[in-house]
């Protein structure tokens, strides 16, 4: 049976302060450097895979990233097989080498959690910091407004 991840990052909109630091640390994590200043100076600075949703005049803000759906439309829509479920973790990952930039996944994602990469050649989406252990957005949120939880934890 296909391994599905039960891990999700949950935003707590009542304490999200709209600082966008999650986006900033996401850029750093996917930049290939460990230095924020260097990461932001790069011409091919990656785009953030977490987006803070906000609207002028409303005080609710929250950070949204890929929900790693059980039944992901993006995988179904992908024409090259770039969007796939990682065998070991069950996370939904885009193989940027195989992505041809047709944006089908962007069209079908019900959460709007997939974006074009900065260079426009592929899509970039949250990989739950697969190589780092804990997602950096969760680690670096100054107000603990993001939480990584497994579905079972939810009563």
């Amino acid at each position: 049976m296909e391994l599905k991840t039960k891990k999700r990052i949950y935003p707590k909109e009542d304490v999200c302060i709209g600082c966008h630091l999650c986006e900033i640390y996401c850029i750093l994590a996917h930049s290939g450097t460990r230095d924020l200043i260097k990461a932001f100076k790069k011409l091919d600075k990656p785009s953030p895979r977490v987006l803070v949703e906000e609207k002028d005049g409303y005080y609710i803000t929250f950070a949204l990233q890929c929900r790693h759906c059980d039944d992901p439309l993006c995988i179904k829509a992908c024409i090259t097989g770039a969007m796939h479920r990682d065998e070991n973790t069950g996370y939904i990952i885009c193989d940027e080498e195989r992505c041809v930039g047709c944006w089908s996944c962007i069209l079908v994602c019900p959460y709007g959690a997939i974006r074009r990469s900065e260079d426009g050649k592929a899509v970039s989406k949250c990989d739950l910091c697969i190589e780092k252990g804990n997602p950096v957005c969760v680690e670096n949120c100054p107000n603990e407004a993001l939480e990584l939880k497994e579905l079972e934890d939810l009563a």
Binding site: C19, I24, I37, N143, E144
Partner: protein, 502 residues
């Protein structure tokens, strides 16, 4: 009018470190930082900066630092920069100067002139890690004597008491003056540590009812949020007569801060000014106070202690004696360094007396009159650390109130701009965008950590004195010595000078 008031602070940005992430732009409620798209750089409007360090703390590359404006005035000993700037402000506004926090002037801090004793050779010190150490404190009237029946069972009826695991409580801060998240943080910390928080004159918000067992509910001159349910919700009732930051004057929560939540909690219409009169209009004497104390006791069926909070003023010991005779279960004395959400600067800085002296003279007076057991003594308004707590207890306090220290634990940076309602730390504000910045999960943890840390330190210091229960230190002024104090000060404090033996 062209302002003559130059900015208090200057924002220094390291252009190499700044990555234009705009976190500072989004975080500053005073709109100091602005992003200039044309030049792709963040610029600062220094005149709006209050020095609260929100941007400094959140800047991910630590590109920002804030310094005092080094601009030198042609000042002299009499005419300091502050005196000159205050005049500019008033010449431009024609108004009373307002400020937040407590008195910050250079008056003596007696806590720092008191030194604590320790055991050497002739009496053993105690290691609190190996031996039990008791900090439990009871606030309330103590009986004259205890009587037991033939089986050794207590037959004396003990008046209602507050039971504290640590001798430190959070003093009154209303919902309105501080945010709901700040109230919730302190309430949850009180539940966790086993102490009490105080509603202030703001009523008890519905969200805070789960923490009511650990609440002291206040009844002040505006009577906001007071009904029989409220009085019975808390574990004690406090009649607020005065506040250390502004003795003799009332309070004023401007209408713009009275939103739906505040309106419901205070039981007043939305958008109306919440004005607490300077006096209670039904209290013009000790006899009147006694009536209110007993009216409140009656309302709660004599099940809860009723205390009275006063500001430390010149005649404090006689007033305290009157309060004890009026039947109060505790007196809370707020010193002139006590904080506030808003007070006229001149009153904050010039009215009232140091709480150390007030405490010593009240404790002495109550002892002399044989009233000390009838009433507990709580002091607040300047307690910064566990050593201040120990010194207060040794001078005669039963427990202390902390508020500024508690808010600092929650993130307050003492910018003294509480009255503007734009607290960047989500503490002294009702703006929902700013309130969110204080996550009560984090706040409760930080506040309870502070109390736990202090209680560890108190135990260490008690052990050093060879004392294993806080009760043995209470009013034990022999454990204190003064340094650099004159005869009169030593006399009032009831202590000897350092170097004098027993």
């Amino acid at each position: 009018m062209k302002t003559l008031y130059e900015s208090d602070f200057i924002v220094i940005r390291d252009e190499i470190r700044c990555i234009r992430c705009k976190v500072c732009v989004r975080q500053c409620a005073n709109e100091v930082h602005q992003y200039d798209e044309e030049d792709d750089r963040v610029i600062a409007e220094n005149s709006r900066c209050v020095g609260c360090h929100r941007c400094v703390t959140l800047c991910p590359t630590k590109a920002i630092t804030i310094i005092r404006n080094p601009l030198d005035f042609r000042e002299n000993y009499q005419w300091t920069a502050r005196a000159i700037k205050d005049i500019y402000k008033q010449a431009e506004t024609g108004g009373i100067l307002l400020t937040g926090m407590g008195n910050d002037k250079e008056y003596p801090i007696y806590w720092d002139r008191l030194l604590i004793n320790a055991s050497q050779v002739t009496n053993p010190s105690i290691d609190p890690l190996r031996e039990p150490m008791e900090l439990k404190t009871f606030i309330g009237r103590k009986p004259e004597k205890l009587e037991f029946d033939n089986y050794g069972r207590l037959i004396t009826e003990i008046p209602p008491q507050l039971e504290l695991e640590v001798p430190i409580m959070f003093s009154a801060m209303s919902f309105g003056s501080i945010s709901i998240n700040a109230c919730e943080s302190l309430a949850r910390a009180s539940v966790e540590v086993g102490t009490f928080w105080n509603t202030g004159e703001g009523g008890l918000h519905k969200k805070l009812y789960p923490y009511k067992e650990r609440a002291i509910v206040q009844c002040a001159s505006g009577r906001f949020g007071v009904d029989v349910e409220y009085l019975n919700a808390g574990s004690a009732i406090e009649i607020k007569i005065g506040q250390g930051a502004k003795p003799g004057i009332g309070g004023h929560l401007p209408g713009e801060k009275v939103g739906e939540e505040v309106s419901q909690t205070r039981m007043i219409p939305i958008g109306t000014d919440a004005i607490s009169p300077a006096p209670h209009h039904d209290i013009y004497s000790i006899e009147d106070l006694r009536q209110l104390i007993y009216a409140l006791k009656e309302a709660v069926n004599y099940k809860k202690p009723v205390g009275v909070k006063i500001a430390a003023v010149h005649n404090v010991s006689a007033i305290a004696s009157g309060i004890a005779r009026a039947g109060a279960d505790y007196i809370a004395i707020d010193g002139f360094r006590g904080g506030t959400g808003a007070a006229p600067t001149r009153i904050r800085d010039n009215v009232g007396i140091p709480v150390e002296l007030a405490l010593a003279s009240v404790d002495t007076r109550l002892r002399e009159e044989g009233l000390r057991n009838q009433i507990s003594l709580i002091v607040g308004g300047s307690i910064r650390n566990s050593a201040d707590v120990i010194k207060a207890i040794a001078l005669g306090a039963d427990a202390v109130y902390i508020a500024t220290s508690a808010l600092v634990a929650l993130g307050c940076h003492l910018c003294q701009n509480c009255h503007t309602g734009k607290c960047n730390w989500g503490i002294a504000t009702q703006d929902p965008n700013l309130v969110k910045r204080l996550n009560p999960d984090i706040g409760a943890k930080r506040a309870s950590n502070l109390l736990k840390a202090w209680s560890h330190e108190i135990k260490e210091m008690l052990g050093g004195m060879g004392i294993n229960a806080l009760e043995s230190l209470r009013g034990n002024r022999l454990m204190l010595r003064g340094v650099g104090l004159n005869e009169k000060e030593l006399e009032i404090l009831g202590i000897k000078h350092a170097g004098e033996g027993i």
